[in-house]
């Protein structure tokens, strides 16, 4: 690919920037064009790298081995509603869960620590990982530890890998026209809470990250659906807009979203409006998007709503064969396209 010329310099060489890690369009291009190049074998029924799904699903007899891995970096390490330890467990458990693998066989934990990191902070993170594992019914079965010099990384990086066995897997590409889409909880809590904590916005008291393991909630949804769940995804970085864009593109359907139906807490709505951010673009760590065939949607809605993390679950969208691969937002007043963010959304400056 030719490097794209920048302003003022026609020869600037293309480099990886922060936007390539923000979960939006830029990150997907980097993965598809560079990191996954050569591994994109589409000939198999298994879910591998070519699917660019939340994890992989490999055949073992008539069952599936589901594997996923995720490196967790976050600033600040301790934030309202959670910390990097809780995030490292919940993030990986959720990636397994949205593939239909809700019973975790085991997790690995590889920790890279910066010289000078406080021992007490490490213990606090460890306790948080234990507690989150208990919530998820999971355990860490092996790990690795490295320490690097001061300034060589920012505090701590935790990589977790999860494995699980499932009878059936759910991809993020199975939507059909007519399918309804459920959102299990309010969007924007995690990203807005982090931004408020980083920038000292004075809103922190009411804002909390939603980071939580969702495998219990998703188990209820799968049991109630009786095979009618067609796709799932957790809308983390890039927000709901990125998750739904990926699902629409891979499933080749259009998705019409009713804005008024999308749960957003008043404090997140206000904070986003003040900062000039769109809640659809903000990261979440404790909600899932579930595509369901129309006949089962109310059964799944009831099942999810009965779970403590799913109390504000709502039907937010419908898949269509019109406007394939695009998201249409019905604002209640008119309609517009919903575009996934290019990179990390930044608060409006003026």
């Amino acid at each position: 690919m030719m490097a794209k010329p920048g302003i003022g310099s026609q020869t600037r060489e293309e480099r990886v920037t922060l936007k390539h890690g923000a979960g939006g369009r830029a990150m997907r291009m980097l993965i598809e064009e560079t990191l996954a190049a050569g591994f994109l074998d589409r000939s198999t029924e298994e879910i591998g790298l070519a699917a660019l799904d939340d994890g992989a699903a490999l055949r073992i007899g008539d069952r599936w081995l589901v594997v996923t891995t995720d490196s967790h970096v976050i600033h600040p390490v301790f934030f309202p509603g959670g910390d990097i330890g809780r995030l490292a467990i919940a993030g990986t458990v959720n990636d397994l869960a949205v593939m239909g693998a809700t019973e975790v066989l085991g997790l690995t934990s590889a920790v890279v620590i910066e010289e000078g990191f406080l021992h007490s902070d490490l213990e606090r993170i460890q306790r948080s990982m234990q507690e989150t594992c208990r919530e998820a019914g999971a355990k860490i079965v092996t790990g690795d530890t490295k320490v690097m010099g001061r300034g060589e990384l920012d505090g701590i990086i935790i990589n977790t890998t999860g494995v699980a066995i499932a009878d059936a897997v759910v991809s993020d590409a199975g939507l059909s026209p007519g399918d309804r889409i459920l959102l299990t909880g309010p969007i924007g809590d995690h990203g807005i809470a982090l931004m408020a904590a980083r920038r000292g916005l004075g809103l922190e008291g009411e804002l909390r990250s939603d980071v939580a393991p969702l495998n219990g909630l998703i188990r209820r949804a799968l049991d109630a659906a009786n095979g009618a769940i067609t796709a799932m995804k957790d809308p983390t970085r890039g927000g709901l807009a990125s998750a739904l864009t990926e699902m629409a593109e891979k499933s080749r359907v259009g998705i019409v979203i009713e804005e008024a139906a999308v749960p957003v807490t008043p404090v997140v709505r206000s904070a986003a409006e003040i900062l000039g951010l769109d809640p659809f673009h903000i990261a979440n760590e404790g909600v899932a998007v579930i595509g369901v065939r129309p006949e089962a949607v109310h059964a799944v809605l009831d099942a999810v709503s009965s779970h403590p993390l799913g109390r504000s679950c709502a039907i937010i969208a419908t898949c269509t064969d019109e406007h394939a691969r695009r998201l249409i937002l019905d604002t209640g007043i008119g309609r517009r396209l919903l575009i996934e963010p290019e990179g990390e959304p930044l608060p409006r400056i003026c």
Partner: protein, 378 residues
Amino acid sequence: MPDKRVRSSANELKFRDPSQARALAERLADLCAEVGREPISLMHVCGTHEQAIAKYGLRTILPKSLDLIMGPGCPVCVTDMPEVDEAVVLAEDGALIATYGDMLRVPGTAKSLADAQAEGARVEVVYSAAQAVDLARSTQQEVVFFASGFETTAVATAAVALQDDLPPNFSILSAHKYVPPAMEIVAQIPATRVEGFVAAGHAATITGWGIFEPFVERYQIPVVVAGFEPLDILAALVRLVELIRDGTPAVSNMYPRCVTREGNRVALEQMWKVFRTAGGRWRGIADVPDGNLRLRPEFGHLDARLKFDIDMQRLWQLAPSALAERCICGAIMSGLASPSDCELFGKECDPENPVGACMVSSEGTCKIWYQYGGRPDL
């Protein structure tokens, strides 16, 4: 049981009520039918209006015969290249440039402030003129506040300029613009055929709606002052088409909860005490007589243009970007073209690598189209 923390309605504010919006849209369709010709071209002159129109999907409920154009309504977008060049030169010569975030990526002749910053110059983003003064108090370095914005923002700069005991290392490089003369320029462009203007409610909060009366008198084009919620905008469009149908050009204030005939007298007094109007180029559009706000001679001690010898020749010797010559921001801001008419839009030009200023600012037409996916038929 639903979670009590969550209220599901995105439109619970009364100025966003969908059923009232539909009623207004129906009224608008009836009025356009009564006018009976098309297109009826209306222009708004405010990026915040375009943001609201795009965000709420208003264009999908407007009658097909109504052509709602965005005019030169973004102060960042109309900041001319030489104005950016002045700031770049000052930064390269060792001053600390304090400015609003949107100004960082606005391309100058050869580079933007962000480019200068990447090369080592000090550029700080501030949220207000007062913050720039605080910066000056915290350093020995010369701090230049690169001031942009329409009259709404100019009054805040004026309030700071009028403060006693400003630090001696603080000065102002004004790129402030004054909207009313620009409306005259656009009204005079024959190809735009604008039949009515939607005026920006926040600017009118300062200037008062009375300021548009001479304009209406001279050009016989109605002006309606509008707020920024979807119902504000729809109601203003209804009023504008009523005035067109009746052939009674007038100024109408559809934002009475904020705007008065006289405006904010205290703010205006301060603004005109500090600033005078001056002619000058609005990027890509035209020379706009009286379209710029410059510091009055009494405030020469604060004027970066007098305080420093700004030599822009060295920038002008550098080759300008070849891409910039293909940019049609000027035509877009004059209402003569759409971003989709531009061969650079979404390809060589995007918010990360903007070629034109319209792709930089959150109030720029191209940025808004990029953000909301343009105007597809939905």
